[in-house]
Symmetry: C2
């Protein structure tokens, strides 16, 4: 029996994305994203100019057991590294056949998803849009707008996070700025 | 492989609670709530004056399999039956040790929860508040405000619904109107 086997409520702020009384706040700064963007020099410039926060994830320490649900608020800052919009690392689940739901509360962006066997998908994110990452699909959020991209996420508490081939392979598409709006580019085209 | 093993997104309306392209909309009218409220005569009056919708639940037809997540929008209308505020039937999960998360999008109310061994809990619901119903806890929403009570709900897709002792026993507390605000009453006090 833990404190999380008893009902509770938490306040979440739809403007800032903060979760009151979060047990964990994962803070990912620009320096934690080395190796992820095509333009490494542009990232180093951002790091040397104050190493700003890239994204934060607020969570409660729900037991990582089957039957429980982990939920979080994800806040991805707006910005670009070279031509690429800021993104989260993205992850598979360690228990690969577990899904995740995202309800976008504020901002606009894209959820990029992929499987280990080479399939990929992109879904738009904006306030009032919910995106489903089915079992087996790695998922990365990309903020293509001028505001923080704020989402409420839920996944089975035993799922775990696994970066798998993301650190070495990245995603099959990169989301870049163009004057006519965000567009999907092949990674090779940015090297 | 189903359509829900491929990523997708859906629009949800934070004002009305409607989910675009929902596969199922469960519509519970006043007549579907016979036996649930203390004041049966008051309920019959409501039924005979048009049998209005009590609540609606919008869902996608996610496969009811472990690893998937079922998500829904729940819209509970405002109103009273006698002194009691409108509520949902409430349910346990058939797979009892599965949790459910509620993110309240609009309105105000109370989530009443109980276990089969007699424990109970009440958590307030309002826009920007998230309530966690842990494994084994039956949960019922009560709308204590003047607007629809709208929540985004997520639970393991294999959980199932089980009314168990709710149809015969109800919940250990009823939420009633008083001039100073909603209050919890013992069921016996309303008979």
């Amino acid at each position: 029996m833990t404190a999380y086997d008893i009902p509770f409520g938490v306040e979440v702020d739809f403007e800032t994305g903060a979760m009151e009384a979060a047990d964990r706040v994962i803070v990912r700064r620009a320096s934690g994203m080395r190796g992820y963007y095509a333009d490494a020099d542009a990232l180093e410039q951002i790091i040397s100019s104050g190493d700003p926060i890239h994204y934060r994830v607020y969570e409660k320490a729900i037991p990582e057991q089957e039957g429980h649900l982990l939920f979080c608020m994800s806040v991805l800052e707006p910005g670009r590294v070279g031509r690429e919009f800021f993104f989260t690392k993205g992850h598979y689940h360690t228990v690969a056949d577990t899904a995740e739901t995202y309800l976008c509360i504020r901002g606009q962006g894209i959820m990029l998803m992929k499987t280990t066997d080479g399939r990929w998908a992109a879904e738009s994110m904006r306030a009032g849009r919910m995106v489903y990452a089915p079992p087996f699909w790695a998922h990365r959020s990309i903020n293509t707008g001028p505001e923080p991209l704020i989402s409420f996420c839920v996944y089975p508490a035993h799922a775990g996070h696994n970066y798998g081939d993301i650190e070495t392979e990245g995603f099959p598409k990169r989301v870049i700025y163009s004057p006519s709006g965000p567009s999907l580019a092949d990674p090779a085209s940015l090297c």
